[in-house]
Symmetry: C2
Subunit: 136 residues, 2 copies
């Protein structure tokens, strides 16, 4: 399994030369590389609503594989965005919930998601126009 300490994003910790905006390491890539994952934003959005258990999340996002759900939740937990609580019931249940850090991230992130919904038509229109102009 590549997730965990051994899995360091390609440019995490490396020098970021865009000193205009960042003198040291590049937080943008280090943070964005994780939340840019295929399922991260969906799960954050779900958990921003309220805590969910593993099986609930699975039903909530039907097209995610069990493997990717486990892995993405683990990565989000590792970065401190979500909490994982195990209830030693029988059978066991595990509840995932947003941490304060995760909620603080979701606040600005939500604005981008809002933008996506509001401007989806413009983006699709731009694509059509671009593709038409490419017909040569």
């Amino acid at each position: 399994m590549k997730t965990g300490a051994a899995r360091v994003p390609t440019f995490a910790g490396e020098e970021c030369d865009m000193s205009t905006w960042d003198a040291g390491k590049c937080p943008v890539r280090d943070v964005m590389d994780q939340i840019a994952g295929k399922w991260s934003t969906l799960l954050l959005q779900a958990l921003a609503d309220k805590p969910y258990r593993f099986g609930e999340l699975r039903r909530l996002v039907p097209d995610i594989s069990q493997r990717m759900l486990t892995q993405t939740l683990r990565d989000l937990q590792r970065d401190g965005y979500i909490d994982r609580k195990v209830f030693p019931t029988k059978p066991p249940s595990v509840e995932y919930s947003m941490t304060p850090l995760g909620l603080s991230l979701f606040e600005p992130l939500k604005r981008v998601l809002d933008w996506a919904e509001a401007n989806h038509a413009s983006v699709k229109a731009a694509r059509v126009k671009f593709d038409e102009s490419e017909l040569a």
Copy 2:
């Protein structure tokens, strides 16, 4: 939508059947899949400052390959975020700049990037803590 299918509140306050969160149908994924590219946010951030030429962007982000710079710029142009202007000088030069649509996207996106910078330390700390607890 199936009866009893899980629904969560969306950013717009509406409810959304997450089973329809399919790229092409879901604005969030359709837009984010592009933004989530390895270099997209960095180039948007660069161009939000001012227009740049191809070679300038290349020097600005030294560790991007020429292939990925071309490809990412093309994708961003296709989605209507940036403009591409060719000057028939000799040798030719090409200038990239943000469109109004791109600027309107960058406004909320910048908040996420700002968050990344402001909370990078917290994220890194969370990773260390998580990795240490995994050694048990």
